[in-house]
Symmetry: D2
Subunit: 355 residues, 4 copies
Amino acid sequence: MQLGMIGLGRMGSNMVQRLLNNDIACVIYDAAPTKMTPLQDLGATATSTLDAFVAQLNTPRIIWLMVPAAVVDTVLAKLSPLLSAGDMVIDGGNSHYKDTIRRSATLRSAGIHYVDVGTSGGVFGLERGYCLMIGGEQDIATYLDPIFSALAPGESAVPKTSGRATQNSTSERGYLYCGPSGAGHFVKMVHNGIEYGMMAAYAEGMNLLKQAQSGGQSNTASTSAVNTEASNNSNTSNTVLTSPFPSENPPYAFDLPEIAEVWRRGSVISSWLLDLTAHALHEDPNLEQYSGHVSDSGEGRWMVMAALEEAVPVPVLSAALYARFSSRGQADFANKILSAMRHQFGGHLEPPSKN
Amino acid sequence: MQLGMIGLGRMGSNMVQRLLNNDIACVIYDAAPTKMTPLQDLGATATSTLDAFVAQLNTPRIIWLMVPAAVVDTVLAKLSPLLSAGDMVIDGGNSHYKDTIRRSATLRSAGIHYVDVGTSGGVFGLERGYCLMIGGEQDIATYLDPIFSALAPGESAVPKTSGRATQNSTSERGYLYCGPSGAGHFVKMVHNGIEYGMMAAYAEGMNLLKQAQSGGQSNTASTSAVNTEASNNSNTSNTVLTSPFPSENPPYAFDLPEIAEVWRRGSVISSWLLDLTAHALHEDPNLEQYSGHVSDSGEGRWMVMAALEEAVPVPVLSAALYARFSSRGQADFANKILSAMRHQFGGHLEPPSKN
Amino acid sequence: MQLGMIGLGRMGSNMVQRLLNNDIACVIYDAAPTKMTPLQDLGATATSTLDAFVAQLNTPRIIWLMVPAAVVDTVLAKLSPLLSAGDMVIDGGNSHYKDTIRRSATLRSAGIHYVDVGTSGGVFGLERGYCLMIGGEQDIATYLDPIFSALAPGESAVPKTSGRATQNSTSERGYLYCGPSGAGHFVKMVHNGIEYGMMAAYAEGMNLLKQAQSGGQSNTASTSAVNTEASNNSNTSNTVLTSPFPSENPPYAFDLPEIAEVWRRGSVISSWLLDLTAHALHEDPNLEQYSGHVSDSGEGRWMVMAALEEAVPVPVLSAALYARFSSRGQADFANKILSAMRHQFGGHLEPPSKN
Amino acid sequence: MQLGMIGLGRMGSNMVQRLLNNDIACVIYDAAPTKMTPLQDLGATATSTLDAFVAQLNTPRIIWLMVPAAVVDTVLAKLSPLLSAGDMVIDGGNSHYKDTIRRSATLRSAGIHYVDVGTSGGVFGLERGYCLMIGGEQDIATYLDPIFSALAPGESAVPKTSGRATQNSTSERGYLYCGPSGAGHFVKMVHNGIEYGMMAAYAEGMNLLKQAQSGGQSNTASTSAVNTEASNNSNTSNTVLTSPFPSENPPYAFDLPEIAEVWRRGSVISSWLLDLTAHALHEDPNLEQYSGHVSDSGEGRWMVMAALEEAVPVPVLSAALYARFSSRGQADFANKILSAMRHQFGGHLEPPSKN
């Protein structure tokens, strides 16, 4: 089987390698020619224009787009006039499922089959294989099975779920047809929303362990200069952050890298994300190289929006997402409003710098 | 009637003035003598030692403590040996109700009546009167009625609740006996927890209006340099914060001081906190004088703890409280954990400065 | 001045009365003729068809729609062909601001001016006046000033904000031009989002007071049949809900109607919503007539969506909204997932009925 | 080496088996004699009284308590008079770390060493091994190494974290000395808090997929009977739950068991909890056997309390915990307050039954 890959970023490039390793011939195209060279060395056929790319592909063509969600429409506008009825285009990126539905309808009128594949695995996918969540026409998904099978981790990746012995589902090999157009991207969106929540759960726990090391913020308030709203009776009270909150936590000095490591074995919270966390903490125990201004990829927001449409409560996902927004300074004006209210009713002036 | 006030901060000082205005004789004591002078001019009897303070009071003595919660035990240790059976001590500050229960039991063994009075009103209480939530022995609370009546706003402060015409409750004058020892501080704790939630509700709304002015953060991402987890195919993708999220919000230029003002009249969200917000925004539309590092007085934390003891969900209060913690940098390490995870699985490096 | 009102539900009907009281002539139309009769008695001109309605209005016509957001497009489809260039149509309901922008553009091509007016005040607006948040063309908003002035509460409704003495803003009379098309509905959306948060803040506080009355749920677990994940060593542990959590809360018997009442005077959390809560609790202290399956009007969801577009954290609003979803059973399957996980890793079976 | 085990519930019984399998001699005691029989058959020495239990143990004695947190004090009161200086008592259950610190100090005065071991692994621990988080005196923990090593999963349980090749830490075998008394239970408490967050993340995602199957709640509102707060103009509006919210989600029919299964391979969210979820959904795709009234073991509440003491924001953990509270009906009165407010300001009456 042969596949054409457009977009050779970290994901696309690794996927081509995995396909080549599994005897899928690959034609490749990227606007940045330097990205093609290493793959050429591995056997991929590089092309310098979209026309050349399309010309190199056997019909019906199988084309995989691995480009940013924001440029999918641009790429399709250039690509689709070059295609023929019966060709198949796969969007393996993180597009919104509603965009996918719209694009699928447009291409269908030209006889082109549009397949959406939510792709998880990150930079480790080359070695581990990719988890693939597939939407579109079921017979087309079946036709593409060798591609998916080559990219997916395979049955041996993890132990069989008890009681599934007699089944033969592709889910046990790491890919799944999820439903009509958009279903793959919908499931991937939910997948990423879950990921946000899991990441935030670990982050909160690690943060508490870290703060317990230092005795936390509340210990910085001495009893002679506390801040209570009803009873500010000293001139210094304005400069104190927190309440006379009794912190009786002993001054534990937790070794975070070791704690992350021990949780990897036997515990209920073991996971791949924990493996990564253990690695990151081992390399840099205080995480000094990281800014903590946390980006979001859009899929968390989309999942909240989908949940709102269905009236489904998603408090954990939302909390995780808002923590990312706040990490980027997006709550600053809200905080100023709170400072202003406190000043108005209680005469409190918050201190100018963080504590 | 005569009352002795210990603690002449903003709250205590104003309360003495309101008591004097309502013909309650006041004996006063504060460790800082300069705080007593202006009240002396208004007719209060200043004392320079606790002994002198106690000696000036008629028995049974009525003593009101308006000191920080963290020093109540210290003050009681010095004061209680000077008192006689039958004396009454009132804690008008924001003590934890469990501390109050403990102190009440200790003093009761010496025949001293301990009364807890949650006091709301802030710096406006002198003029508006104070809302008083009272706990302790009911007959003692009844005995102290003239004090509470003098401090409270009185019946005319707000229109009568429909259907209450035939009642004669002190609640309609702004003070209420809530139950045995600690009940007053418990109700005040809940009151302050509600306050946190309301403040945060306004802050979030104002923040959204403010961001809509500027087009929000998402508009800073150009479509040529988006950040999607699955498809980073450019060298610049690491340096971009947000997703290709479609922001179609028109560039409204909202006038926040005017919006706060209009909501004061006829709207469902009119409130005293909104009045204060309107005033703060009128004075300083961009709130430049405020740091946004928001203190918390401890009562919000106590309310969450009480809710946990009763298995009562308090998501709004918790969200409001955590926003304050985060405003003080207390989420920073959690955010670094998130950055580290993203770097591990996706090769993402967050940008070093806030955007 | 003359106004035509379409839609005579609670809001529309009351607004017509308030307009008539302020000498604005009203032509009225509703699909249900019986709704028109009482207003006719007060001087309104009833019409039985849209054609008759339009014919009764002087040009340029001023038409106010007070219909559900979901039928605005239907009404406009019937109404707009009957109108002339220069006519003004006001949408006073809770439409989404993006719908408003779209409708405005459509009508503008026919020379019709479209004005969006977020209207707050509920069933009390007839007496108190309505808070009006206005979007559209500024000169048209100015032309309609007598209408807005008649509906709004007026300057005397609340005390002036300190420091605003020399201004002469309509905000001080209870209405405000907020910006171009959609701005009024955007501000009303934010207003309603804040309302959700405030309501939830009160609800959480009242719930905690209520649970403290009963000693809370945690007290139902006896020490002989506790449920700890690590150490289930009795056959009965499966049937117990909660942990051996130490609840030391004294059995306060709080009088919720009285507490709501006392907070109305002098406290920081006094508000109109609190006034309503006090009234509801006075009428029905245990709120037995209410189902607690809380509807949402859509504006809270829209505000979260707008916040997501701008990357603005709104944790309080979201928590308030999700509590409503959950009150309607929308978390049930999520809870079953949790039960299933607990059964898998710990052998726990949750009890079949609520406790 | 020899160990005495008190408490033979699911956890204690499995741990004895694992110890016996690793050549640790076991003396056992449980108030229910029938629990001892199967372990006797495997080689454990059963005892019928605490005195006999203590007498069977070589000195210095090693005694492991695997009893509910709520009965630890009771067991210690009976056990400690029978012990000698130098004996070691291990609390392997989910005790609060502050209780552990208190108990440790009490026993230390009698020369008894008290060790806290947070134990994770659930019913699978017998086979997989247990993750052990250890607090107390470091030299005692070192002395007990053979016990911990027998219980823990061992180095081969998971692949080595990259870059740790030259280390020789017990964390890589699944147990870790975390610090002085209470440190083990503190880390276990944080572990369980993270677990709550992860579980809720999966539950929210699965719930959204489930609702998308049915089209969600919002689709039940017809456009002819919508509920908007500002514009109720029909008699039927009271009986409608939701807004005219546009749900454009296609009617996907997701296969939840298959989706959980596919996520197990290659995806970023693979974890042991996901493995369990996949198994539960495979057995019972609609989870009909589960009540969804989700218990909590207390450790989540304790973690929130510890976070409050340190001013650490834990929004995800809190949201997860509150969802459990609400699943047990603990938000019902809060919801009634919301219904009551809506009735007051808008005339809305919520429908009596869930939808």
